[in-house]
Every structure is written in C-alpha cells, then in structure tokens.
C-alpha cells in the first residue's frame, strides 16, 4: 500500500515502468507473460500461496519481497510456535474458514533478489529500489542497525536510560530509527540484521533482570529472531 501512497512519485515511477498487475488496486488477473520486476507483499501461509509465489518467481526476472510479512513472515509468524489452528480459533469466531498454516517470508519458498524491510516499508527505500531497477543497478540498502541510526540521530538509549526493551541493536536499519527517535523502543519490524547477535541482547536483558517470558515475547513479535536473519 505504500506504493499507492507514493501518489505523485508513483506517477513518476510509472514513466519508466508499466504496471501489469496490482491486486490492491484492480481486480485484473495475474497476466500470463514474463515480468521484469515483481514486488510481492505478504507472508506465505498456505499451499495455494506457495504455488502462487513459485509461479510469480518463474515469471519474473527480479523479485522484491516488500514488507515485514514478505521478508520474515512478520507478525503472522507469531503463530508458528503454537500448535496449528490454535491461534486462529482464539482470533476468529468461525476458524474453519481460515486456510492458513505456518507463516513464512517469501525466501522460505523461492529465491528473493531484494528486500524492502519493515512494517510499513520505507518510502524512500521503495523509490530507491524501483529507480535502481529502472537504471539497472542492484538495489542497495545499507546493512547497519537501527541502534546505529538512533545514535546518529543524537538520541539517548531507551534501554540504558529507561530500561525499555529495544530491538534496535539487532534490527536492520534504514528506517532512520523512527521509533526510538520518538521515544518508543524498536519492535524489530525490519527483521534481524545479519551478523548481529540476538543471544547477546537476550543476555543483556537477562542481566537487567527482565523476566524470561517477557524477553521471549519481545524476541518473537516479528518472527523468531533466532531464525535465519532477514538479511
């Protein structure tokens, strides 16, 4: 949906690209022709979606996973640790209509060429990625942490000064540390940055006498941080 909210910028992007399929905007079916770029949102949670993403992969030269759900499974992946169906029956009145199993990011099923992290994704990163593809250079999102961007913004640490459980130290940066810069701890929506050490963070929290239950909840909100890193 961030794509739609680009508004005038979207028109600018459309000077260089033809939109073939956009389910959030039009009911047209997925065309049966090769695509240069596919930008896919959402987690894969059932067999039909798995088949669909494999089809899209085959059709497209370049596949972008856009948003927390497509990158790591996102919030949906909370249910992955519960027995199948349990979460659905707590949330929905008639869970028998829900056809949804474990939630995973796209790369669980197909090769992904580029990622747009976060919930929601960053507008600038989206534009930069699309324009990079127009110019035929690989999109690049710097591999730094939210914690580093937070320091660059001149903030005081919400963990060290207020004891808040912030996932900034292990989370992919690029959001300009939006949450901690507004006084709210990072929830880790952009996923775990490759090379960071969530176990170290868990240890730091444990040493600060945070209850193991709370730590587990925090580290599992946007998919389990101990899974494969987002990037």
């Amino acid at each position: 949906m961030v794509l739609v909210h680009l508004e005038e910028s979207l028109l600018e992007v459309l000077k260089y690209a033809e939109l073939k399929y956009f389910r959030m905007v039009s009911d047209d079916d997925l065309p049966n022709e090769p695509l240069d770029v596919a930008v896919v949102e959402g987690a894969v949670t059932n067999e039909e979606e798995a088949i669909m993403i494999k089809k899209i992969r085959r059709m497209s030269k370049f596949l972008v996973a856009a948003g927390a759900c497509a990158v790591t499974g996102g919030l949906n992946a909370i249910k992955n640790i519960s027995p199948e169906g349990e979460v659905e029956s707590t949330v929905y009145s008639s869970p028998e209509h829900v056809r949804s199993g474990k939630a995973f990011g796209l790369n669980e099923y197909v090769n992904v060429d580029a990622y747009l992290y976060g919930c929601p994704i960053d507008r600038r990163e989206l534009i930069n990625t699309l324009m990079s593809l127009v110019m035929r250079v690989p999109p690049y999102i710097p591999g730094l942490t939210v914690c580093m961007e937070c320091k660059m913004n001149g903030n005081e640490c919400v963990f060290l000064t207020r004891g808040e459980l912030c996932l900034g130290p292990v989370t992919v940066g690029g959001c300009s540390a939006l949450c901690p810069s507004n006084g709210v701890a990072c929830e880790g929506c952009r996923g775990v940055l490759k090379g960071t050490n969530p176990k170290g963070l868990e240890l730091a929290w444990t040493n600060a006498e945070i209850s193991p239950d709370l730590i587990r909840l925090k580290l599992r909100k946007y998919s389990d941080v101990y899974q494969v890193p987002a990037r």
Binding site: G143, L144, M152, G154, K194
Partner: protein, 355 residues
Amino acid sequence: MFIKEDARYWKLEMSFVLKREELPHFSKHIVSKGYSLFAPVKKEGRSAFKKIGEDHVDEISLDYIRTTMPPLKALLIPPKETLLRIKDGRIEEVLPNPADKIAIMGVHPCDVNAMSLLERVYTDRPEDPYFKARRNSLLIIALNCKSADEYCFCTSFGTGPSLDEGFDLLLTDLDEGFLVEVGSRKGAELVGDFYMPKALSTDLMEKDETIRRAKGMIRKHVNTAGIQRIMTGALYNPIWNELAGKCTGCGACNMVCPTCFCFNVVDEIELDSGSVLRSRTWDGCLLWEYAEVALGGNFRRDLSARIRQFVNHKMNYWLNQYGALGCVGCGRCIEQCPARIDITNVVARLRGELL
C-alpha cells in the same frame, strides 16, 4: 628557571576571568561575530550539544561530564552528509561553504584530542575536502574537566582531564566564574573586544587544583606500556570468542567513539529523471557488511573477529597507522554498550592484570 617564570608571565597576560553571569553575554558576543555557536544544553537529565541561537544563550550549561554524541566528530563529519549531486551527466560537489564560521563551546579535552586524531586521518593524503573546509572554519572553546565519572579513563592516554594545546580558547570552571586562556589568534580576537578582567596567579592555582581534583575522580585505567606487543600477542586469545557471546553486534560503540572515522558511501537515486545523490554515512567495523567484498566474501565472518578488530584498532593498529593510540579514554563505548562490554577490562585481562 627564568624561562619558566617568563612563560608563566605570558600565560597570565593571556588569561582572563569570565564571571559566571557573563557567560550568556559572551555567548551572544560569539554569535554576533557571525559564528554558528554549538554548546551543551541539558536534555532529559543528560547533556547534548545543540546549535544555540542568540535568544537561547541562557540554555547553555557547561556543567556536564559526557555527551553521548561525540560533538566534534558530529560537526566535522556529520553522521550523514551529501558529497555529490549527479544530474544530467553533470557532477556537482556539495562542499561546505568556507564562509560559514562555526564555534563550539564547552568541549572536554578528550574530545579535542580525539579531533586531533581525526585530523591525522582526514588530512592525510588524500586530504578530505569536506572535513578540511569545516575544520578551517571551526573555532574551539574547550573546557577543562572539573569532575569525572566511573567511565572516564583519559589519564591513561594523557588526553585529559586538562588540555595544553589544540584550542582557540580554553575554559576552566572556577569558583567565581571561568578562567579563559587564549590558545590562538582567532581566540585572542574573540576576547579582544569583550571586556574580561585579567586572571590573577591565584586563579591559575585554583585551575591546577580543579584539575587535580578531577584527576583524583578517575577510576578506570588502561596500562599502555608495551601495549602493541601485548595486543598482537593476544590475537588468538579465547577472550574474543567469549566477548562475541555477549556482544550484540549493534555498532553503538562505533557510533559514539570520537575517533571511529569510517563511513559508507551510498548512492540514492532520486525520482526526477534519475539524478543521483551520493552521500556518506557513519559506518562501523562491528557490522557484517563492513568487511564484505564482492560475491559475498567476508574477511570478518565471526563477531569475535569484528570485536577483535575494534579493540585492536584503538589499542594497537592506530600506532602504526597514525603514530598514536586511537583511544582517548572518553568512556562512551563503555557507557553506551547494551552488553556492558568494557574495553579497559578487556585490555587488563589480556595483560593478566585481571582475571
């Protein structure tokens, strides 16, 4: 003996006392000279450097120990700065305007010394025009420390708590106000047309006493004797693996270190017919991507190797690279580490001074 007396005489001739209540007026005086003034202000119980407008000189508070952000690094190499704009095949360098005069007031000795180290890096060939332009237009009003906390260890490197050179003006917080010492022509010009009484020899004695007291508060220490040999000998010490279990790999130490000078150059493609902004952002050796090369090769795959690099760069490699150790003992990396890793502790353990 005669020469020493002579030096003391001249020191007195170029030393003044700024009454505490005169500080805002003096700050206004600096702004009126066309400087953008940066000084520490209180923010949520901590202090941070901020640009001070003429109407906000009352907010300046020189009573602080440490800011999280290293002030001179942030001024001279902004966390994110645009280097070039490329449009329609034309490359336009976005250099700082040399006419923009900057004054920074209240920088502690460790940070001034850290800037001298950055100078070695950025004015070494090839010279960095962005750094150089800002450095040339920068006036430094340093502030000797009157206190220290549990993270300070500048005495290990001779980088504090007092300063002998590298400033335009140097303040010391005394009972009745600030001792103002002149360190350069620019500094002399600034006090030249602002009335301050000359300092007395008792003021200089009070300064010495203040610094002695600050020194007495410093608890942490790094023994630098033969440190290069010890660090190199410890490259395969199991301590690096142990630290990798605790370290989150967040890179906060890199950001808050006043001598960490690495940056990443990034191109951002703008929407208007593909013009490109090339900018640089602070980077850090704790990151996976930092030592990554083409096709995914990486020279420091393990976090242990990256921690080892951070500590060794400060305490070992700097000496060969730039002729000085790369740590000034400001204590930021210790204070800001979520995992509570303490570089003084690491060195002490490698020296066998601690278990």
